[in-house]
């Protein structure tokens, strides 16, 4: 198993970069759809981080057949499936809300969220 935080890999750096890009998109972008994209990128950064936790070079898939001794840690992969499902749900919900917001306000600008032009 993993002993302590192992030395950082390229995948960790990519994951961190993705996470930060997503965070930037979520916070700084003015367009609501772009914000949803930012959220998705952020989630994929986390997914990549988890997957790379379980990955170890030279190990095989965790299917217990004869002659296989070293397998990767299957847990992070299984868990990331759940995260991906949740990501799909959140994206679908956000997009459908945005469609309805667009119909009401005819704009995708973030100013809508703070209630400008309401009532």
């Amino acid at each position: 198993m993993i002993e302590g935080l192992r030395e950082s890999r390229v995948s960790d750096k990519i994951a961190l970069t993705l996470f930060l890009i997503g965070l930037y998109g979520l916070i700084a972008k003015k367009n609501l759809i772009k914000k949803v994209m930012g959220l998705n990128i952020l989630t994929s950064g986390i997914v990549l981080f988890f997957i790379s936790l379980g990955y170890e070079k030279g190990l095989t898939a965790p299917i217990m057949e004869k002659g296989i001794t070293d397998v990767v840690d299957p847990l992070p992969q299984a868990l990331m499936l759940t995260t991906i499902v949740i990501g799909v749900c959140i994206t679908a919900l956000a997009l459908s809300l945005i469609v309805r917001i667009y119909r009401r306000y005819s704009s995708l600008d973030v100013k809508i969220l703070t209630g400008e032009g309401d009532e």
Binding site: I63, M64, L81, S96, R100
Partner: protein, 146 residues
């Protein structure tokens, strides 16, 4: 009205559809002994419907796969899953406790409940994904109609 897709796209999609469904069920059924599983298979199942939807247009697909039927399928998938969990309690084991024979490692009907659970998860996910897609497409259609 949506633009009709070209004949090539429609033919390829129609030929691809059964293969995709087969692949989805392969992923679901072999999920416990190889890469794959309920969710992955379910997504492929859902995307096969989405492919049909994109190429044939919504009206024709909805005649075959009604939204309400998909919703029922989705609910039944979860209900059976939780029901199997409760069955574990009734049979004297824990929630989701295994009450089927485990079988030999590497065979297809093995690993007790997992195959059964994968099957229902696959149904639910397939129906759910295509329902989400339908709902978003409907928004689009209504917006165009306005």
């Amino acid at each position: 009205m949506r633009r009709q897709e070209t004949k090539i796209v429609r033919n390829v999609a129609r030929k691809l559809f059964p293969v995709l469904v087969l692949f989805a069920f392969y992923l679901i059924i072999y999920g416990h002994i190889s890469p794959g599983g309920g969710f992955q298979g379910g997504v492929v199942l859902g995307s096969s419907l989405i492919l049909l939807y994109l190429s044939e247009g919504p009206e024709r697909v909805e005649k075959k796969f009604k939204n309400s039927q998909l919703a029922i399928l989705e609910a039944i998938g979860v209900l059976t899953f939780v029901g199997i969990g409760f069955l574990g309690i009734i049979l004297g084991k824990h929630f989701l406790g295994n009450f089927l024979p485990i079988g030999r490692v590497g065979m297809v009907p093995s690993a007790g409940l997992v195959l059964l659970l994968n099957l229902f998860i696959g149904t639910k996910v397939g129906a759910g994904i295509s329902l989400i897609f339908y709902a978003l497409m409907k928004f689009d259609r209504r917006a165009q109609g306005e």
